[in-house]
């Protein structure tokens, strides 16, 4: 089947029920998307499908066929996306393992709501961070919303 990932097109020969996560990680060798729970609980595997955040560990690859898949590697070529920059500015990551998923979830939120309230952030940011970086995730999202109005035109 044909997959459109980060502006590239790949032809893959896999079982249709293989979770998208494993196609991304082990077939396409894009390792920025992480495996952590396997049951869509933690969000470490979050990617965008047609702009929507999806927990790829529980999303069969066939359902992604023909759609636009974006992984952390496709967010920007040089970590220049405002959310990535805010993550650096606020020194958000600790171990960093969940942060690809956190960033993808945050980008999706900001794309939809350029100036999210705390309640919006609470509702959208349900990914688990075992290191406990939540305070800084919230601060970074508010910072992006406050200083990148032109980037996020609703």
């Amino acid at each position: 089947m044909e997959l459109h990932v980060n502006n590239s097109t790949y032809e893959v020969d896999v079982e249709p029920e293989m979770p998208l996560l494993w196609v991304i990680r082990d077939i396409l060798n894009l390792k920025g998307t992480k495996f952590a729970c396997g049951i869509a609980q933690c969000g470490a595997c979050t990617v965008h499908i047609d702009g929507e955040p999806v927990r790829s560990c529980s999303y069969p690859v066939f359902a992604a066929e023909g759609k636009l898949i974006t992984t952390i590697e496709g967010l920007s070529a040089d970590a220049s996306h405002p959310v990535q920059q805010a993550w650096i500015k606020h020194q958000v990551p600790q171990c960093g393992y969940c942060q690809s998923g956190q960033i993808m979830a945050a980008v999706s939120l900001l794309n939809k709501k350029p100036r999210p309230t705390d309640a919006d952030i609470n509702a959208a940011m349900t990914n688990i961070c075992r290191c406990g970086t939540y305070k800084r995730i919230r601060d970074a999202i508010h910072d992006v919303a406050g200083s990148n109005a032109e980037f996020y035109q609703a």
Partner: protein, 722 residues
């Protein structure tokens, strides 16, 4: 499959190239610095390498797993070196080189909040020594007295002659200078890199997906292994039926390893291996532990709480029983803390590649030498032939510190494959949660007297717990006493003349391990709540009750006063809000916390504010210390609210994050961190923040509801978190 050439990631390149070239440390480039030029460096000592272009490479021996010392430890070296931080690059020490050179880089483990406190002296000396050699080189080159030479921000200068030089031009000569026998370390007032909130060097790679963890190793021709271990700890495979699994796509082999301790499926893709594993029915020999339950374990611990004799603690003094007998009031309480799982976000796993003359290993580990050794032992080969590649760990929290179960398994699977086949072994989340080395279950009984003036007269405490050292490592306990289980009791910050405390080991079949903050993650739940119980019995304010017993403990008093000041303890909280306070002394640091909350009639806890204070002596990177306190608070609240690993039929009942709840962003309280370093000592930072949170939270719940919670987690008492 059509893969565009431009899609080759940086990570792939690094891993592939290290695999070919022999596998050395992964260099981390600080943004904005010039690239290191290969082959031009001069090793001034084992920690410092200076390059012709003035770039300075500082070696880092421990692991980075989020605690930040990949940045802060080199800050110690760079400060004494008087380097320009913008010219510093940090590079992991190669483990194989370490082993071949008498383990000259010292401890490599990242455990016990020890990287700064236990390496600060030799790291600062390494920086000072390298600086002295650069000065000696300049003195010779310029023919001027060394005493007249100044070094600042990466520049060596001699004012009288007008000579100036970067480090690079002097590096070759400096490397030939004698190593100074003694060096003077700076007065802390002169530090200019220590104490600065420099951005962590590993963070840029964590925002674009390029950070490499153990799970990310990828080699040509690699096969993947999924693993199942007996749900009842210590059990083995008696037989298995793989008839439905064998014919599935991509399956290469199915076999047991380690005398049946694990069954492994090897496939051309990990998901295929795991799917096949789920299709195999396994008959386990559970070795007689299939009837152990939480209730049977609790009954066993209760007996040990009631038993007359225990192993006495070293700080016992006076006659506790006599003092209690004379007291006006006697208070006694029992406390219970459950088993807990580490659950770092990156599951356990390792990649092992066996070739004719060498073995390469990629794994996220807090103990690189132990991981390397586990592979050497599993394969029966010399340690010198094993090359362990340094990667960031996707969380550790102790799980990757003392145990090397998964690297051993990967080695055994690789050994069973044709020579030269790289094997990546990966556990599921379920496997991780049900085969952890758990934070010990423990019970505590404390009894104390109060005199008419509200002073503690006589203190008895019994700790009934498993012993991590004895049960995991086989370390014999001296006179039956385990200090780690008794952290928090072996040095009370409260001045009590007559005290008697003891320990009884309660060994079960549940594997135990070091869990973030270890004994200090649970003993304060008992100690600091009991102090509150005494304060309540005395009719006194819990903060001032503590202070009046701390007359001789200036540092404990100091941090407690700082957090009380930060919350405004003397002013009443907003209506309906209640506060709890606690203080602790973990890992050479002093930490205290105040939690302010409200609880509604339905038991919903709304945490309004958390004040978390630390006095670690010296602060190396203040922003990182704050981050550690923030994270430790989240960690502690998760444990308090929901944390429990439950044993039924000898096996763990929890399996994944749906039934082992961890805190999420919406539940994050407003928190303020107070850094209150008093200087003069070096304490830890990664773990101490957790210690006072649990009791401060429970003390606040008591203040709000009158309910004294003596067993965890809070969810069993009808409490939920807003």
């Amino acid at each position: 499959m059509n893969k565009p050439a431009t899609n080759l990631s940086r990570r792939k390149f690094l891993i592939t190239s290290t695999a070919i070239s022999g596998g050395f440390a992964l260099g981390l480039q600080i943004p904005g610095t010039s690239a290191q030029q290969e082959g031009q460096g001069n090793n001034i000592n084992i920690w410092v390498e200076i390059h012709a272009d003035d770039a300075v490479t500082i070696k880092y021996a421990r692991t980075e797993m989020g605690q930040g010392s990949l940045t802060s430890a080199p800050q110690l070296v760079a400060d004494e070196l008087d380097a320009d931080w913008n010219q510093v690059t940090i590079e992991y020490v190669d483990v194989n080189e370490h082993i071949r050179n008498d383990r000259q880089w010292g401890a490599m483990v990242t455990v016990g909040s020890q990287t700064i406190r236990l390496s600060q002296d030799y790291l600062r000396r390494a920086g000072a020594s390298a600086r002295a050699m650069l000065v000696a080189a300049a003195a010779q080159a310029w023919d001027v007295p060394a005493e007249e030479i100044a070094v600042a921000n990466g520049t060596i200068s001699h004012e009288a002659s007008g000579h100036r030089s970067g480090f690079g031009a002097m590096a070759e000569l400096a490397a030939t200078m004698p190593v100074p026998e003694t060096v003077n370390l700076k007065d802390p007032a002169d530090w200019h890199i220590i104490g600065q909130p420099f951005p962590r060097v590993d963070i840029p790679a964590s925002v674009d997906g390029s950070q490499v963890y153990g799970i990310d190793a990828e080699l040509p021709g690699m096969v993947y292994a999924a693993v199942a271990q007996c749900p009842v700890f210590g059990g083995t495979v008696r037989s298995f039926d793989a008839s439905r699994a064998r014919d599935r796509r991509g399956i290469i082999d199915i076999f047991g390893i380690d005398d049946g301790l694990a069954l492994v499926v090897v496939a051309d893709n990990w998901w295929r291996a795991k799917q096949a594993l789920d299709e195999i029915s396994i008959d386990w020999d559970t070795k007689g532990n299939e009837n152990v339950s939480n209730e049977s374990i609790k009954a066993f611990f209760q007996k040990n709480l009631d038993a007359p004799d225990g192993a006495p603690m070293p700080n016992n003094a006076g006659d506790a029983d006599a003092a209690i007998a004379e007291a006006d009031q006697v208070i006694e309480a029992d406390y219970y803390t459950p088993y807990l799982s580490h659950s770092p976000m990156e599951p356990m796993g390792a990649t092992v590649h066996i070739q004719e003359d060498r073995v390469d290993v990629w794994t996220s580990t807090q103990a690189p030498v132990a991981s390397l050794t586990s592979v050497a032992e599993a394969l029966g080969i010399p340690e010198e032939d094993v090359y362990l590649h340094r990667v960031q760990a996707g969380g550790g929290f102790g799980r990757r510190g003392g145990s090397t179960d998964y690297s051993r398994q990967a080695a055994l699977v690789a050994q069973a494959m044709p020579l030269g086949t790289p094997v990546k072994l990966l556990w599921t989340r379920e496997e991780d949660m049900q085969h952890d080395f758990y934070r010990p279950l423990a019970m505590y009984r404390i009894k104390a007297g109060l005199d008419a003036d509200g002073y503690i007269k006589g203190w008895r405490a019994r700790v009934a717990s498993g012993s991590i050292l004895n049960q995991m490592r086989g370390v014999p306990l001296s006179n039956g006493f385990d200090g780690i289980s008794c952290e928090g009791f072996t040095r009370l910050p409260y001045q009590i003349e007559d005290q008697f405390q003891d320990f009884r080991q309660c060994a079960t079949h549940v594997p135990l391990g070091f869990w973030r903050t270890v004994g200090w993650s649970q003993t304060p739940f008992a100690r600091e709540q009991f102090i509150d119980e005494l304060a309540a019995a005395a009719g006194e304010d819990p903060y001032y009750f503590r202070l009046k017993h701390m007359a001789e403990d200036e540092l404990s008093r100091h941090i407690l006063e700082k957090v009380a000041e930060a919350i405004g303890w003397d002013e009443a909280p907003p209506k309906g809000h209640f506060r709890g306070i606690a203080t602790t002394e973990p890992y050479g640091s002093f930490t205290a916390a105040v939690v302010e909350l409200s609880v509604n009639d339905a038991g919903v806890i709304n945490i309004h504010r958390v004040i978390q204070g630390i006095d670690p002596g010296h602060v190396v990177n203040p922003d990182n210390v704050k981050a550690q306190l923030e994270g430790a608070t989240v960690w502690a609240i998760s444990a308090a609210m929901w944390g429990e690993i439950t044993i039924e039929e000898g096996r763990v009942q929890e399996s994944n994050f749906h039934n082992y709840r961890l805190m999420r962003l919406a539940e994050m309280p407003v928190m303020e961190t107070v850094l209150a370093p008093t200087g003069g000592f070096w304490g830890g930072v990664g773990e101490p923040g957790q210690a006072p949170i649990l009791p401060a939270l429970c003390n606040a719940i008591y203040a709000a509801t009158g309910t004294r919670v003596r067993s965890l987690p809070l969810q069993h008492h009808g409490f939920t978190l807003a």
